[in-house]
Each structure stands twice: as structure tokens, then as C-alpha cells.
């Protein structure tokens, strides 16, 4: 019975996926082909030249320090922000698992940062961190007892912390939400049994909690890692990649090359490199999920 249900009607099943495949090909395939072709050409918006120049753009990739710095920077940022968000999100989730008055209202408010646009988050934190008109320096001044005027978005040692604060503020609630939901599903009886058996907190966490929340955590980390890897909006509004190129992430560099410097072909080569790297990473990661299931 089940088999006949699944097997009949071949057209219907393809009909259902057709629109999705069509849309993705329409918007995805042509640009991708165009990208590959352009990366072998010598296109700049400043002139009409369209000549092919072989692998020149790809050779340039190898010796482009600014590109590699931006990639390393982006990876480092991801590596720092992600664990912080994960841990803070987990702690929050644990806290909110307990009975708390007005829980639903508080959760709604905590979720606010996650749903606002990164552009607005960036603008908000520029306001917050303004050395003169912003409340952050004011609060620090109170705590320190002296007038503190930190140049959050100007000085080289503070820009990354500034962006990190904004990023963690915006996405910790997301982690919290997912982990909260996952933790709610952990078997309470099992936990209580472990407690009665005198298992340590760590043992309980490793043996019971972690396996239960692992799938959710994995997806959450994957989603955030990919978003962090292409971070653009937040950094763009806060620093535009400055000072100098100190906060130039991969996406910002790619934007600068394509739309400020009009190096169309070279930016196509960059894009192609990024797509290849990401695809390898993502497919590997997803296969792991499938396997682990």
C-alpha cells in the first residue's frame, strides 16, 4: 500500500519541485555562468574592454594580501563571536527553563534584537557607542568615576570589540531561542533519575543534555557560521570596513572591488573562489548531519 502511494504518479512529484528548481536556476544559474566567464575577462566599468585574459585574475587572487587578510579577519570574527553567542544563549536558555514570572513577555523582549534588520542594529550601536552622544561611554564614565571617551568606531583596538558587542547583542537571542526550545524537549524524568543517582552536573550534561540538543545546536551553529562568514550589513553601517581596512570583511572587500572600484572581472574571480570554498564546506557539513541522523 505504502509503496503504491509513493511510486505512482511520476509527473506529480516532478511538477511539485519544478517551480522551485526553475526559480533557483533562473536567478542562480545565469549569474553563476556569467560570473565564471567574467572572471576570465578584463572588465572594468571605466572602459569598454571585454578581452579575455586567461587566469590573470586568479593569479592576482593569490598575491592579494587585502583579500586574504579579509578572509582571515572574517574567519577570526566568526570563531570568536560564535562561541560567545552559543554559551550566552545556552545560559539564558537554562535560566528561562525555570519558572519565572512574566516569562513569555520577557522572552518576547529579548528576541527584539534578532528580528531587527542588521542595518538598523548597526545604526543603533553607532548611536549607543558614539563617544559623545552615546550612553555607553557615559555609563563607563559613571563606573570608572572619571570622564571616559572611548572612540569605539575609530580607534583600531576598539572597532572589533564594538562590532562584536553589536553582533553578540543581535544574535545571542537567536541561539537562546533555539536552545531553549531544544532544552524544553529534554526528558525531565531522565534528568531527575540522573540526579537521584548522584551524577555530576558535567556527566548529566554530557550524557543526557548534550545528545538531546546536539541536532539543534548543530543547525544553529551552521546557520550562524554561514551568516557570520558573509557578514556585511552590520559592519557596513558601523565602520564601512574602517579604520583603513581594519574591519574589512570578505563581503565588504568584494563589494568595494565590484561597486566602488569597478573591478568587475577581478571581483568575479573573488566571488568564484568564495563560492567554491563555501560549497565544499557546506556540502561536507550537511552530509555529516544526514549521516549522523
Amino acid at each position: 500500500m505504502l509503496k503504491t502511494l509513493l511510486d505512482n504518479d511520476r509527473t506529480f512529484r516532478y511538477l511539485l519541485v519544478a517551480p522551485a528548481v526553475f526559480f533557483i536556476l533562473l536567478i542562480g544559474l545565469y549569474p553563476f555562468i556569467k560570473l565564471i566567464i567574467a572572471s576570465f575577462q578584463n572588465i572594468s566599468l571605466f572602459d569598454d574592454i571585454r578581452s579575455f585574459q586567461g587566469l590573470l585574475n586568479y593569479e592576482r587572487l593569490l598575491s592579494d594580501d587585502r583579500l586574504w587578510h579579509s578572509i582571515v579577519r572574517t574567519l577570526l570574527f566568526t570563531a570568536v563571536a560564535l562561541p560567545i553567542e552559543l554559551v550566552l544563549g545556552y545560559l539564558l536558555a537554562v535560566l528561562f527553563l525555570e519558572k519565572i514570572p512574566f516569562k513569555a513577555a520577557l522572552i518576547s523582549i529579548i528576541l527584539l534584537p534578532t528580528i531587527i534588520s542588521p542595518i538598523v542594529a548597526g545604526a543603533t550601536w553607532r548611536l549607543m557607542l558614539d563617544q559623545r552622544f552615546g550612553p555607553v561611554n557615559q555609563i563607563i564614565s559613571w563606573l570608572a568615576g572619571t570622564d571616559v571617551k572611548l572612540l569605539w568606531t575609530v580607534s583600531a583596538s576598539l572597532v572589533w570589540p564594538a562590532i562584536l558587542i553589536a553582533e553578540v547583542w543581535q544574535w545571542t537571542p537567536f541561539m537562546f531561542l533555539l536552545l531553549y526550545a531544544a532544552l524544553s524537549n529534554v526528558d525531565r524524568e531522565q534528568l531527575e533519575a540522573a540526579q537521584i543517582d548522584g551524577a555530576s552536573w558535567w556527566m548529566t550534561f554530557r550524557r543526557i543534555v548534550l545528545p538531546a540538543i546536539m541536532p539543534v545546536m548543530f543547525i544553529a551553529v551552521l546557520i550562524r557560521a554561514l551568516d557570520l562568514f558573509r557578514v556585511f550589513d552590520l559592519v557596513w553601517t558601523m565602520t564601512q570596513g574602517g579604520p583603513g581596512t581594519a574591519t574589512e570583511t570578505l563581503s565588504i572587500y568584494a563589494y568595494q572591488m565590484a561597486f566602488r572600484e569597478f573591478e568587475i572581472s577581478y571581483s568575479a574571480a573573488i566571488a568564484f573562489l568564495v563560492i567554491v570554498l563555501l560549497t565544499v564546506f557546506v556540502v561536507a557539513a550537511l552530509r555529516r548531519v544526514e549521516v549522523s541522523r
Binding site: 571605466f46 574602517g242 572600484e261
Partner: protein, 487 residues
């Protein structure tokens, strides 16, 4: 029609523009006397009644002129609608270029930053205007534009591509009450051995600033300058040349911005921050003029609107309600910045997009706005960011009586228009400027000045190599040969 009239009456009342009335009537004046450039434009434009022109403007205050004043007025006179498209200034070039390359003809009239004129004109994005200027007899009135703008912000390779439309120049504003204070004067002279007056050298600027800060901190600091990289790059270009610096070696086209002069200027600029208000590194136009209007700083160097607004001009205008009330209205002095050769920073010229379907109508709108009659009103719009750029603007009795020392203000602007220094203009100028902006933001972040400038020179050399050394050399030589390229 009548409701429009009423709207205008209201507008005239609001902004106290007596002249507007006569302009509204322009279309009604008979052809008895020789027609002015504005009248001719209106006459000829009537054939395009019903057309809509897309005009690219810098986002912010600039578009208020076409949105509130020239746009509605032009529509009433000619039936041509003006649709203003706003873009942040650093996106304007990208948008214009993108539009041209895509061939979509999305813009008819462009506001072009003059130092980007060569790029746009040589790539074919702009329409040559000589034929139109001939056809509509605009040569004579073009001559009324102050020479530095007329000679440098209009032509590329001998052809007219744009009408200079904005007298941007960075001049010095100072607090007369503090400079004239006898106690300050004697104390200053005793300490430094020369009388307290608006600084003529950067050395003096630094000494006066330090002196004022010591005397009035934290209520008032010696100065607050434009330090945001986008603005500060112009200040650097000016000071670097005032001190004798050259951007490139004219023979090899190697960047020489990392010379000792460059290092000196960079080092001094950073050192000055120590006696300016904390956080001055972030200051742009708004922050600096806010501080000046609030009485927080004794000197600043900025674009002309600061001088007007600080004097209280435009107070009560709705469009300016976001400007804090000036506390220094009768205390503002005007002078050229140290060195006496102010930067003609940014500025705007009106250019017709080559992809436009309504080139002639677009040109006529530009000629009309740019003409003696209409431009005089535009530069007096209290909320406008268009600054005096015609000899007649500087001399206008009406303008000179706008506030107590408006005459002084206009005189300084006029002097600036004679001695002012042009922004560096090359092929792909924007990329050179971007590198400079990045260098300045690194400067504020505390890196070594020499290292930054060496990197900047390296970046510039790379750019030059990619664009073509010989090609760029010619363009640079052409620019450097202009009388206002170097002092």
C-alpha cells in the same frame, strides 16, 4: 494653478524671498527686452511640457532646493516635472556609472563632483554641452561664474560637459568675541610674541588652538576640525600642498605623498587632536558645525553653510529645524584658513547624462537653475547647500545685508574662489581618494604616520600601474598645469 500660487506665497513668506515673486512672473514677462538666459530656457523648455526629468542629487539637504523651490517653480513655468533621486554622496559616482553602463537611461540630469568629471566624460557617460550653450546663448552668463569654478569644473579636453553650480570652499570660522577679548590678546601676545588674530600658518593655528583650549576647556576648545576620513582627506590635500607637497613625480608618475612633508602634515594633524574636543576624530560636517553653533569650539574650518547658519541665517525655516539654535550669532568671524589657499572641496556641477531621452530639456533646466537670476535665489535659500559661485552672488547687495557681517562672509568666499586649491583629479579619482580616506582612518587609529603614507603611496602606485602610467601621467600633467592645482 491658484493653489500653487498660494503655496508659493506661503513659501515666500517663510523664506523671505522677495525675488521669488519676480521669478514666478518670469514666464509672463513680455519679450520686449532681450531675453535673459533663464527666460530663454523657460521659453524653449515649454515644448517639453509634460516630460518628467530624473535628476540625481546628493541625499540630505541638497535636494531640498529642487524639491521645494526650483522643481515646483520650473514645473509651473514649463510644465516639466522634476523627479529628484537622492543618493549618498559616496554612491553618486557608482550610481551614475552603473546607470550609464547598463544603458537604462535612468537619469537625465546629474550632479557631478568636478574631480570625477574626467572619468565620467571620457567614458562617455556625459553629453557635451557646447552646442546647447551656443543654441541658447549661455556663453555670456557662463562668464559670470567665478573663474576658478568656471575654468576648472566645466570642461574636459576643451569641451563643456557641466555647468559649475556650487561654490564649495573650506573656510575658517572663528569666535570674534574670544579673539577680540583684551585679556586673551595680551596673554597670548605675551606668551607667543605675536598678536592674537585668525591664524595664517598651521603653526599659529596650533598655538592659538592650544591657547584657547587651555583658557576655556572644557566649555570651549581651541578648534574642532572635520576629521571623518571622508572630509579630512580634503583638509589633508590642502595642507599637504600649502606646506609645499606634491602628489606625484611628474616624470615617473610615482606617488610622492609619503614625502617628509606628508609625514609632517600627518603628524601635525594627529597632534592637534590632543587639544581639540575629545572624539574629534569622528567629526564630520554635522558634528563640527553643531559644536561651533553651540559655542563649544573657537575655530572650525568647513563648508560655507556653517558661516550662514552660525550667524543665525535660516532660523525658523522648517527644513532646518534639526539644527540646534546658534549661540554665537553675532560673534562669528570669517577668514581664509592657514596658508590662505582654501580647498575647493567637492562642489557640484550640473551635467546631462548621455543616456537621457530628454537631453535638451535636461540641459534647459540646468541652464535655468544655473543662470544669474535663478542661481542668485538658490544660493540664498536658507536651507540650501549651494554656495555663492558667481561674481554677482558675492556682490549681491541683498545677500550682503542678510546679517550684520554677511559682507565679510561673502568677501572671504570670493577670496577663496580666487586662491582656492582644486581637489586632485585623475582617472578613477575615487579610488585614489578611497585609499587616502583609508590612510586617514588609520592615522586616527594610532598607526605610524610614515608607515601609513608609504602604504598609501604603494596603493596609489598600484592603481596608476593598473590604469596605465602614461595615460594617468597625461591626465595628471593636465590637472597639475592648472593655476589652482598647486599654490
Amino acid at each position: 494653478m491658484w493653489s500653487n500660487r498660494i503655496m508659493y506665497t506661503q513659501f515666500v513668506k517663510n523664506t523671505r524671498h522677495v525675488l521669488t515673486v519676480s521669478a514666478v512672473c518670469l514666464g509672463l514677462i513680455s519679450n520686449a527686452q532681450a531675453q535673459s538666459a533663464a527666460e530663454q530656457a523657460v521659453e524653449a523648455a515649454k515644448q517639453y511640457s509634460g516630460v518628467t526629468l530624473n535628476v540625481l542629487y546628493e541625499a540630505g539637504l541638497q535636494p531640498l532646493d529642487p524639491k521645494n523651490f526650483t522643481g515646483p517653480l520650473w514645473e509651473e513655468l514649463t510644465g516639466i516635472k522634476i523627479n529628484v533621486i537622492e543618493s549618498p554622496v559616496d554612491q553618486m559616482f557608482t550610481k551614475a556609472m552603473q546607470d550609464f553602463r547598463s544603458g537604462s537611461g535612468g537619469y537625465d540630469l546629474l550632479n557631478v563632483i568636478p574631480n570625477q568629471l574626467p572619468d565620467l566624460a571620457m567614458s562617455g557617460a556625459l553629453e557635451p554641452l557646447d552646442d546647447y550653450v551656443d543654441k541658447y546663448n549661455y556663453h555670456e552668463e557662463l562668464q559670470g561664474i567665478a573663474p576658478v569654478y568656471r575654468d576648472n569644473q566645466m570642461k574636459v579636453e576643451g569641451k563643456i560637459y557641466a555647468l559649475p553650480d556650487d561654490g564649495d570652499v573650506l573656510i575658517l570660522y572663528y569666535r570674534r568675541d574670544l579673539f577680540d577679548d583684551p585679556a586673551n590678546q595680551s596673554a597670548f601676545e605675551e606668551k607667543y610674541g605675536y598678536p592674537l588674530a585668525p591664524p595664517e600658518t598651521w603653526q599659529q593655528f596650533s598655538e592659538i588652538g592650544q591657547f584657547m583650549t587651555d583658557a576655556y576647556e572644557p566649555e570651549t576648545y581651541g578648534a574642532g576640525l572635520l576629521r571623518q576620513p571622508g572630509n579630512a582627506q580634503y583638509m589633508f590635500q590642502e595642507r599637504f600642498r600649502v606646506e609645499g607637497g606634491r602628489f606625484f613625480d611628474p616624470d615617473s608618475m610615482d606617488a610622492t605623498v609619503n614625502s617628509d612633508i606628508g609625514i609632517k602634515v600627518f603628524t601635525e594633524m594627529r597632534a592637534e587632536n590632543s587639544w581639540m574636543p575629545p572624539g574629534v576624530e569622528q567629526w564630520g560636517f554635522i558634528e563640527a558645525f553643531n559644536a561651533f553653533l553651540a559655542g563649544d569650539i573657537a575655530m572650525t574650518i568647513s563648508w560655507p553653510p556653517v558661516g550662514r547658519w552660525a550667524a543665525g541665517y535660516g532660523k525658523g525655516t522648517e527644513a532646518l529645524n534639526w539644527i540646534p539654535e546658534t549661540k554665537v550669532a553675532d560673534k562669528v568671524g570669517y577668514a581664509l584658513p592657514p596658508g590662505g589657499t582654501p580647498e575647493l572641496a567637492v562642489g557640484f556641477s550640473l551635467a546631462v547624462a548621455s543616456g537621457s531621452a530628454n537631453k535638451e530639456a535636461a540641459y534647459l533646466f540646468a541652464q535655468w537653475m544655473n543662470s544669474e537670476e535663478i542661481s542668485l535665489q538658490r544660493v540664498q535659500l536658507p536651507y540650501a547647500l549651494r554656495d555663492p559661485f558667481r561674481t554677482s552672488h558675492f556682490a549681491s547687495e541683498e545677500y550682503r545685508s542678510r546679517w550684520s557681517n554677511a559682507g565679510e562672509y561673502l568677501d572671504v568666499l570670493q577670496k577663496g574662489a580666487e586662491t582656492g586649491l582644486l581637489d586632485l583629479s585623475l582617472l578613477q579619482t575615487d579610488r585614489y581618494e578611497e585609499a587616502l580616506r583609508q590612510a586617514i582612518s588609520r592615522l586616527w587609529s594610532g598607526e605610524d604616520a610614515k608607515k601609513i603614507l608609504d602604504d598609501l603611496a604603494e596603493d596609489w602606485d598600484q592603481l596608476t600601474k593598473r590604469i596605465g602610467v602614461d595615460k594617468q601621467k597625461r591626465v595628471y600633467a593636465d590637472w597639475a598645469s592648472k593655476p589652482n592645482a598647486y599654490p
